[in-house]
């Protein structure tokens, strides 16, 4: 579904959003947003005044039109944000439709519509079948096309047992046959939750959003008081403030800009995650991501490239290094795994052994299987194998060969140093050991330095022994590491960090990661992981890319920054609006206050109208910013504060002066007031 990010000006989203803006005028929906609800009431009052007042009907009519626009623009912002999610939800829904499941009951297969499946049902899927609901493979192995969910066209392997047993409803089996136990409740499949999430239907306000709403509501209440008391003040002072003018002042003062964009910001935050192929189970998790200050990162795949690379040849007694390299290269020529390729590369680098063109019938390749745990090639009578030490040992001994002691030692030494030893043999003779080691990802060190600047501590988690771990940690520039970490250690570490007041994020995929994923403030489960892991975390990364965690944190931060910045902007705008409206309100009774009209607005009516128009248009103008989020750079908090305070605080004071003046010129030119 995250196939193509919808552009901000996609007509397919904007057009339905216009309808949505009107549907959202329902007071039962509006009341959830106190700021805009007050604006709505103001618009109604002003509209009524058109008919009840004797004078200034044209002015009041224009005023009420713009007040309605203010409400509609805010609704529009929300509708656009929701629309972007809806487009994605629709494509997801297509995947869910019309699936007939082959339910297995007492050995009998029957066809059942997918939505009727119960948790615990067994279903069979063969090549070409769409998996009817979330579940766990309990039998067989199959390749599955998960493009419907992840957008990734390359099929993935799903098999019973282990960490790759989870399947998602809506994905398609493209080879083999598997039996699946359904693990999700009816109507609560992963797909259902994704749809709900992207549509924002089940969106609950996040803690910071609630706090901000309280702030904005209280400010609205305060300004309501300010405007209501102006009426009696006016009676004392001999100024008759009309209802439309008081409403105009009120709407300009209350924080409509942020009030109108608040929910759009929240929705688009989730939307940005989705477009990076991360599914959050709640908006709360996205917000928590911004607060993270400790990242537990799995070494493999995040800090080091997922696969180890050949680094050394350790020949057995009586074998030259070159002989070993030659055999190793031959055994790996057809091995398309990164490990295999790295052996070919190392052989070429060290001994200039060129790649040879091998083809049947001369050569027969023996692929890696989980049973044999070795691979190799049979070539012109030679039989070369490479594989894990223990399986190679039994292979050699099975052939009547001798597994040399010095090779066993080399294997042990390599393991101790945190490297992966691969034993190479020809026939029944062991040629030696190829060592594979971790390679730290390019640019990761700089990334960690940035994180440190943002105040985020990185902790590398690895099963390696402490020495290896320390070496890699130093190379990668993480702040801390946990060596020989068991899932229990991870859990303990998370709790310890949390006890110190830190918020912790981690990634995980295995079933035994589940408790830690649940404990972490942000737990990102890999989509390739087990169902247990996916249930335990509060986010799922569909790309199964552990580095994504860093992006998730950035998105969370950006979401909060956008809210804070627009709030600041909204509040700062009030100064200019006061300077536009207050002189206009008093001018008729006290012409002496003319110098207060610092913007030189043409007339009291044009001043009030311009302020209201500016107030409405600024919502529209800021929709793209609300949806995209404010510019984000990894910097320390002090630098970010300074920058945003300057842009949105100082900018918020200055921009409306310019905007209101410009609108006043237009309004006057058009003879609207």
């Amino acid at each position: 579904m995250p196939h193509k990010p919808a552009s901000l000006l996609d007509a397919s989203i904007l057009v339905p959003a216009i309808g949505g803006s009107f549907r959202k005028l329902d007071p039962r929906l509006m009341v959830k947003n106190p700021v805009m609800f007050v604006t709505l009431v103001g618009a109604v009052l002003t509209t009524v005044s058109i008919f009840t007042s004797q004078a200034d009907r044209g002015f009041i009519t224009q005023l009420s039109v713009w007040l309605w626009f203010t409400v509609l623009f805010a609704n529009f912002a929300e509708a656009v944000a929701e629309g972007r999610g809806k487009a994605q939800a629709d494509s997801l829904r297509k995947a869910r439709k019309d699936t007939l499941a082959r339910r297995l009951k007492n050995g009998q297969e029957s066809h059942v519509p997918a939505p009727l499946l119960e948790k615990g049902d067994l279903v069979v899927c063969e090549a070409g079948d769409v998996i009817p609901a979330d579940g766990e493979v309990i039998e067989g192995i199959a390749s599955v096309d998960e493009a419907a969910i992840t957008g990734e066209s390359a099929p993935v392997i799903r098999e019973s047992g282990g960490d790759r047993s989870a399947v998602t409803g809506g994905t398609k089996v493209i080879s083999d046959r598997i039996v699946i136990r359904i693990t999700s409740e009816k109507g609560n499949t992963f797909l259902d939750r994704m749809i709900a999430m992207v549509e924002g239907a089940k969106r609950q306000k996040t803690p910071n959003e609630i706090a901000l709403t309280i702030l904005l509501s209280a400010m609205t209440l305060i300004f309501l008081l300010v405007c209501i008391t102006l009426k009696p003040f006016g009676i004392y002072s001999g100024v008759a403030f009309s209802i439309p003018v008081l409403v105009a002042l009120l709407v300009c003062l209350i924080p409509t800009t942020i009030g109108g964009l608040l929910s759009a910001i929240g929705i688009s935050g989730i939307d940005r995650l989705i477009r990076r192929n991360v599914m959050a189970t709640s908006g709360r998790a996205v917000e928590a991501a911004g607060d993270i200050d400790v990242l537990l990162l799995d070494k493999t795949g995040t800090i080091t490239i997922g696969n180890r690379m050949a680094s050394d040849f350790r020949p057995a007694n009586g074998i030259t290094e070159q002989q070993l390299a030659d055999a190793g290269q031959l055994a790996s020529l057809a091995d398309e795994t990164p490990e295999g390729r790295s052996i070919v590369v190392l052989a070429k680098d060290k001994f200039n052994i060129r790649g040879r063109e091998l083809a049947a019938p001369h050569a027969t390749f023996v692929p890696f299987t989980a049973q044999t745990r070795m691979s190799g090639v049979d070539l012109e009578g030679r039989s070369i194998r490479k594989g894990a030490a223990d399986s190679m040992k039994s292979y050699i001994e099975g052939k009547g060969g001798v597994y040399p002691a010095e090779v066993a030692k080399a294997v042990e030494a390599a393991s101790r140093a945190g490297r992966t030893p691969l034993v190479v043999a020809e026939g029944s003779q062991v040629l030696g050991v190829v060592e594979l080691k971790d390679v730290v990802k390019g640019g990761i060190k700089e990334r960690f330095a940035q994180l440190r600047k943002m105040g985020i501590k990185t902790v590398m988690i690895t099963g390696d022994n402490p020495m290896t771990a320390a070496a890699i940690a130093a190379e990668a520039g993480v702040d801390d590491f946990m060596a020989q970490a068991t899932p229990e250690d991870k859990l303990k570490r998370i709790r310890a960090e949390q006890a110190e007041g830190h918020l912790v994020a981690m990634t995980g995929d295995g079933t035994n990661d589940a408790p830690a994923l649940a404990q972490a403030d942000v737990g990102v489960a890999m989509n390739t992981g087990t169902q247990a892991a996916r249930e335990a975390g509060n986010m799922v990364d569909l790309d199964s890319n552990p580095t994504k965690l860093i992006e998730i944190v950035e998105i969370g931060k950006q979401l909060l920054m956008t809210r804070g910045s627009l709030t600041t902007f909204s509040i700062a705008n009030d100064i200019a609006k006061y300077f536009a409206i207050i002189p206009a309100m008093l001018m008729a009774t006290f012409p002496a206050i003319a110098p207060l009209n610092v913007m030189g607005l043409a007339s009291p009516q044009s001043a009030i109208l311009s302020a209201v128009i500016f107030n409405a248009l600024i919502i529209i103008a800021l929709i793209p910013l609300a949806l995209k989020g404010v510019a984000y750079k990894p910097m320390g908090a002090a630098a970010v504060l300074q920058r945003n305070l300057l842009v949105y605080g100082a900018g918020g004071i200055i921009i409306p002066f310019i905007g209101i003046k410009a609108i006043d010129v237009i309004v006057t030119t058009l003879h609207l007031a």
Binding site: A211, A218, L225, F233, H502, L560, G564, A592, G636
Partner: protein, 610 residues
Amino acid sequence: MQASDWLQFALFLGLLTLITKPMGLYLMQVLDSNGRTWLDPVVRPVEKLTYKILGVDPQREQGWKQYTFSMLAFSLTGALFTYAILRLQHLLPWNPQDLPGLSHHLAFNTAVSFTTNTNWQSYGGEATLSYFSQVVGLTFHNFVSAAVGIGIAAALVRGISDRKTSFPTRSTVDRVFQPGETSSKTRSTVGNFWTDLVRVTYYLLLPVCVALAIFLVSQGMIQNFDAYTHAKTLEGAEQIITQGPMASQVAIKMLGTNGGGFVNANAAHPFENPTPLSNLIQMLSIFAIGSGLTYYLGRMVKNQGHGWAVWAAMMIMFVGGVLVCAHYEAAGNPIHQQLGITNVDRVFQPGHEDQTSSQTHPTGNMEGKEVRFGLFNSSLFATVTTAASCGAVNSMHDSFTPIGGLVPLFMMELGEVVIGGVGAGLYGMLVFVILAVFIAGLMVGRTPEYLGKKIQAKEVKLAMLTLLVLTLSILGFTAWASVSAWGVAGLNNAGPHGFSEMLYAYSSATANNGSAFAGLTANTPWYNTTLGIAMLIGRFLMIVPIMAIAGSLAAKQAVPAGPGTFPVNGATFTILLIGTVLLIGALNFLPALALGPIVEHFLMGQGQLF
């Protein structure tokens, strides 16, 4: 402003800066139940005896609710105590003038006024109150309402600060925590009310007041229990001269930012403020504790930069206020200038007669001001007293120029956070700090946290509640008065200035300041009652939410600071805090100010009279 004005201003600011740190360090000791001071040998036994009589354990800390209950019980008792004294003053001793008991509404207003540290003077001082009422009924509150304010501020600071006994270290990583456990090491208590009350009174207020009172007497302030003196003037008329135990009351009136005058004219009266030197010392005593409390804050939260940043924000707003006020007072009133008034000859140049040059002088506004203080010291005092919720006046704010009078009004409407009342200023300012941290904290991309403690819905709700209450009381009561016969009947001035008188009254009462546009005849049942309610709202409806914030923060575990932590020190934060105070706190009053002083300013320019 003249060169001598700048010198005086610099002297005042310099001395204030100098006393801030020592006062803060002393407060650290006073507000710690185990703190040590040089007074211990004398005061410690009395302190212990007091706890024994009260039956309280000074070491037992209270939660926020209990602290608040103690405070409310004590304030209620004190208010009733004073109410009774005022009603019955004709039956009580120390009443050489045989002054009658006060009316029920005036007694209510005055009792509330002193209990809430407002010291609004609906009463007429020397013409209304007996020495007993002054000394027992009022001086008592001058002390304890100040001590209560300092205690509340200390409780909030304790809640904010991370008062763990020790920090968990790396080695605790292996410790297994239960999910949801916050750490047993965080203290959720906020101190002990009785300990704070007693220690602040004994170790801080009383000793300073003794020294201050004696100094003030040396300057010419009266201190006796004599009957009023009957003098025969040089022209043969009779003049009755007020007497009484003034210095002892004035010392605490200033130090405790109470402000209620012994005499009606307050610190403008030559007895109550005899010399420019006494004037300087009085202004310093108004600011001393409030300024020191910012240092105390920095110490307590182990971030002195934060204490100074808060102080700097206060000072910048203060200096701004003084400059505006002094400028407009010196510029004077064009209406009066047209009549032929020149400036007072400010510089001492005996024998220097040059009438033509003095005609070209800018002419200052001397109505309601004393010659010995002059324009600048009057403007400075007006800003100090309203910035600090003191309310003592050395000149009549009602007669200030519109913008000169707007400054004190504005200072109060900020919520008395520029130094503010003792304690009240700090806790009021901390509400703005919390709001500033919340809004700007979001801007740095994290759940806002103040010194490591998360600011969440609850804190925002409580903080905004205090602002809402402040606005409601000031604007609500002013609106009511401005359309009521009883409201308008009390006005001494017509037109926008009359509106300012009402606005000033309710701003002053709600902000617990106590100064007035004193032309307003407020000693009427309606004004006494509504102003009394405004004072109660401004004190207790502020304190209770603030204590709830203290309790909520105290229970929170602090996140260790790092580069991602929102910085609450430095210039950026100071600017941010000022912005928050002005935008969220003060902007609400702009329309009302526009109808009062701002309109009046422009009308004055056109020569309009009311």
